[in-house]
């Protein structure tokens, strides 16, 4: 048959029409999509026996009680524990996504030894015996060469049994370099030390206060014990209590407060003293307080230097607002002033803390209902003093590498200075332990810290997760995560009533990990001699049981126990300690960079949806982050539309953010809730480690800023840095 043009066309058209009319292709497509929907990779979660157990969340220092729901031996949900004094059933989004940390892809599953270059990500799996003998051998070498004082450790806080085991280890080994991650707790503790001579943590009876004056504290952005603060905030709302928030950006806290007062950043201390001046001049202060030490000098200081007009000029707040704020605050029956910006990860300016504490004293709310209390809570740790051999004695005589306790007599730990000392060659560490902390990510000036760490020949990380610090370590000895281990939880940050909680295993360890407490003991035992003798316990669990004594049974049964009643802040109040003398000539908290080359001011902001400490955001948490905060791979910066107009930047445009410390490509978000001239960047993004759900998203604020030493405490006070924003 001859195929002509005509027959060819009719064949094609006829075929096409026929195919379109027959249901076959559609049916096949439909069948194949239904079939592929049933492919076995959609998991069917197995059913089983349901059970529940209680524990305490340790993802932040909040100490919330949790109830986990289990199906057979799988944990399927974490919920807030009903009736727990901290959170009573509520829980924050990090706590709720804890299972993604337990079963998540970011766990370190077995001890690892670095084989490639540092940070290259090449690891060799080793056994626990090998890992421990490797550390012990290294430490024994350093010790026999007389370098015991060049070993240091960084842990998250100084309270609780695990940090104390590290401290005990270093003491018997012969090193004073027990360091903790900085936070506002350091500044508060020092304020109490300087103004009242008390060595304690601060506690706030926030629930009972009726006028809360917050100097930038992120009450509902993760400050203190977050869920407890959320609850307090709701109670204030329900009972008509007033909250005034002072900060340059309309944060969530500011948005929920009764009054938001924007302030020039770094001038908070001046405002506090200006308020003090008005309170004293109008005789609104508590009468008892005028006999206190230094009151007359303090009175003179605020009257001469902090007149309302001057303060108005410094802070950018108009005089009438300042006067009415002072009067409302002083006239409230239970006023409370708090400070420590955002989530409180930067210790801040001590002047500000002292000024705010003086303000509290002035209205007479120290040791009062709704006021400020002391918390001295590690009293349950009463281990026998360890025997120290001559090397240990000698080592402990040496000065700390970070200068804490010598150059800065009241400060216990100065990580920011450690970095500087190492980088300038004034001191060195031969070995460093890091546990429960991720300084390479979470401390300001991450580049300088990376430099300093590069100069430490031996770094051991105890992290459960492949975080930035772990991935730059030489050896990782992974700890159990909190759902797999026992640990005591001392009083959560800012609580006024001492309480101790118990984290306990709700599921058996999922991987080849070991409790960090056990590992420290094993290393000590491998080193032998006096060091081994100081750790006579059989295991960490035995140590914890013995330490908690009679409390153990109660804690196992209900998960928490009050550790006595509220503690009184004893000691005479000194209104004008030497440390305050610099306030006689006010200068705002120093900001790095020149205003000419960097016309804008970059400040960080915290949100409860972004974790910026040891824990990185799990996938669920990062999923909740708005697209005006993180879009694709870029962080968004907030600027006022006025600033945007001046710079020619519109919503959603890419821009280059430059500071004296670093550079980042960002997206612009125009926001009416921010002071013109200021750029705000969220903290908690820009991870380089962890998993693909977190790494490579946005930029790390800490890479754009350095630390600035507070002249009194030596702690980092930098809250912002000068910056430039240009179109790209």
């Amino acid at each position: 048959m001859k195929i002509g043009r005509r027959s060819f066309l009719s064949f094609v058209i006829g075929g096409a029409a026929g195919t379109a009319i027959t249901p076959l292709p559609w049916k096949l497509m439909d069948d194949s999509s239904i079939w592929s929907q049933n492919w076995p990779w959609t998991p069917v979660p197995p059913d089983g026996e349901y059970s529940q157990s209680n524990s305490v969340c340790t993802l932040c220092p909040g100490g919330c009680g949790i109830t986990v729901r289990k199906v057979d031996d799988r944990v399927v949900k974490i919920e807030g524990m009903k009736g727990h004094p901290v959170n009573d059933g509520g829980l924050c989004l990090m706590g709720l996504s804890g299972l993604q940390l337990l079963y998540g892809p970011t766990r370190v599953k077995t001890p690892l030894k670095r084989v490639g270059k540092r940070g290259e990500g090449k690891w060799e799996k080793i056994s626990w015996d090998e890992a421990i003998s490797e550390v012990a051998k290294k430490l024994a070498d350093i010790r026999s060469n007389g370098g015991s004082h060049t070993v240091g450790s960084i842990v998250d806080s100084e309270n609780g049994t695990v940090p104390n085991l590290f401290k005990r280890f270093l003491t018997t080994y012969g090193s004073p370099n027990f360091m903790t991650m900085p936070s506002i707790q350091d500044s508060y503790a020092m304020t109490l030390q300087v103004m009242q001579g008390v060595s304690a943590q601060v506690g706030f009876d926030a629930e009972n206060a009726d006028f809360i004056l917050s100097f930038g504290s992120g009450i509902i952005d993760g400050w203190g014990s977050p869920v407890r603060m959320f609850k307090a905030n709701s109670a204030w709302k329900a009972n008509g209590k007033k909250v005034v928030q002072i900060e340059p950006r309309l944060s969530n806290t500011a948005a929920k407060s009764d009054k938001w007062i924007p302030i020039n950043p770094g001038t908070e201390a001046a405002l506090a003293l200006g308020l003090a001046n008005i309170i004293i001049s109008n005789s609104l202060d508590s009468k008892k307080i005028s006999q206190s030490t230094g009151f007359d000098s303090f009175k003179k200081l605020v009257q001469n230097e902090y007149g309302t007009d001057k303060v108005s000029k410094i802070t950018g707040i108009n005089s009438a607002t300042i006067v009415s704020l002072a009067k409302n605050f002083a006239r409230a029956s239970k006023p409370l002033a708090i400070c420590g910006k955002g989530q409180g990860s930067i210790p801040g300016s001590l002047n500000e803390f002292m000024a705010v504490h003086a303000l509290n004293a002035l209205v007479g709310n120290i040791n009062k209902e709704g006021g400020v209390w002391a918390v001295t809570d590690t009293e349950y740790i009463n281990w026998p003093k360890p025997e120290m051999d001559s090397i240990a004695e000698n080592g402990m005589q040496k000065e700390r590498i970070d200068g804490a306790g010598s150059e800065y007599p009241h400060t216990k730990s100065l990580l920011n200075r450690l970095v500087e000392v190492i980088n300038s060659g004034d001191g060195s560490l031969e070995a460093l332990f890091v546990s429960g902390a991720n300084p390479l990510y979470s401390m300001p000036g991450s580049k300088a810290i990376k430099n300093a760490f590069d100069n430490i020949p031996f770094i051991v990380s105890f992290s459960s997760y492949m975080d930035e610090t772990a991935s730059n370590a030489d050896l990782i000895l992974p700890n159990h995560v909190y759902l797999e281990r026992y640990e005591d939880v001392p009083t959560p940050a800012g609580l006024s009533k001492p309480i101790v909680g118990l984290t306990r295993p709700v599921v058996k360890p999922q991987f080849n990990t070991k409790h960090v407490g056990d590992v420290v003991m094993l290393i000590a035992k491998a080193l032998g001699g006096g060091i081994a003798d100081a750790f006579s316990w059989e295991s960490y669990e035995a140590c914890l049981k013995e330490t908690l004594g009679v409390k153990w049974d109660i804690l196992v049964e209900k998960g928490f126990e009050f550790n006595g009643d509220k503690c009184i802040l004893e000691g005479d109040f000194n209104f004008y300690p030497d440390a305050m003398k610099s306030l006689s000539d006010f200068s705002p908290v120093s900001i790095e960079g020149s205003a000419i080359s960097y016309p804008l001011l970059l400040i960080p902001y915290d949100t409860i949806r972004l974790a910026n400490g040891y824990i990185g955001d799990p996938p669920f948490a990062i999923k909740t982050v708005e697209d005006t905060v993180l879009k694709g791979k870029n962080s968004c910066v907030e600027i006022n539309p006025k600033t945007g107009k001046e710079l020619g930047l519109t919503e959603g445009r890419y821009a280059s953010l430059l500071t004296p410390r670093g550079k980042a490509k960002v997206k612009v978000h125009l926001y009416e809730g921010i002071m013109p001239g200021i750029v705000a960047l969220p903290r908690g993004l820009g991870h380089t480690a962890y998993d693909n759900y977190l790494a490579g998203k946005g930029c790390n604020f800490n890479e754009l800023i350095g630390s600035t030493e507070d002249p009194v405490s030596g702690l980092d006070e930098a809250w912002g840095i000068r910056a430039r924003l240009t179109k790209v």
């Binding site: 959609t42 979660p45 509520g90 079963y103 609850k231 709701s234 329900a238 924007p262 949806r609």
Partner: protein, 273 residues
Amino acid sequence: MKEEGKHKKAKKYGMVINLDECTGCGACMVACMAENNVPFKEDESNKLDSIAWMRVYKLTNGKPYPEAEICYLPRPCMHCEGEHGHAPCVSVCPATATDYNHETGIVSQIYTRCFGCRYCMVACPYHARYFNWWDPVWPEESTKYLSPNVSPRMRGVVEKCSFCFHRYQLAMDKAYLEGRTVLEEDEYQTSCTQACPAGAITFGDLNNPEHKVHQLAKPDNKHGGRPGNPNVFRLLERLGTNPKVYYMSSREWVRQAGDNYINNEDFAKNYRQ
């Protein structure tokens, strides 16, 4: 006899969300994802395809600095009743994959029936429905935390908030075992309600005058469930979808943001129509 009468009375589960107390912390979103086996991807910053049964929106009053104000608004499925159960999504579903349960007032979603036409997504005025464009992937060990109470969805189906209906079923099972037919208010609570650290969400039976939701919203069933409390409003009230999620705010601009108004329309007069 009295007990039986109580049993027969239809329930109308609903929510009142106090926007004055809501802090925008996002705990409700995560509590929901963890409870309902909601999947996640590497990049979730494109909110159009980011599955969030509960999503928290940020509202602004549109005023310049420093008069700017913000308010957060959590948005679950509204479980619209429409008129006699004709919710916008229910009436368009060709597969009967979504249905209005007259016993509880909950709008269901049956994944195995859904064939992915997405008519319901178009019909829903609240963007409460999400399509699974991809098969869900749980990394490595992560399938271990999946709850057996909610089946994970496959590619090609629509999903949405169910008011944690499995919790209702579990609570009812328990009640039947104990010889009861009526649930106490606290026996059935959604995951988001339970988790909210600010206590901003209240959940219960809107038809039961003893339940807190009824007392807060004061719904007028004769007029499509319209709220009787002047501080309470519903989203897009004027569409007549008769949603069961009520919002409470003391700020007028927030209440006004709950619906569309033309420029010089009298809000005070019209917002309750």
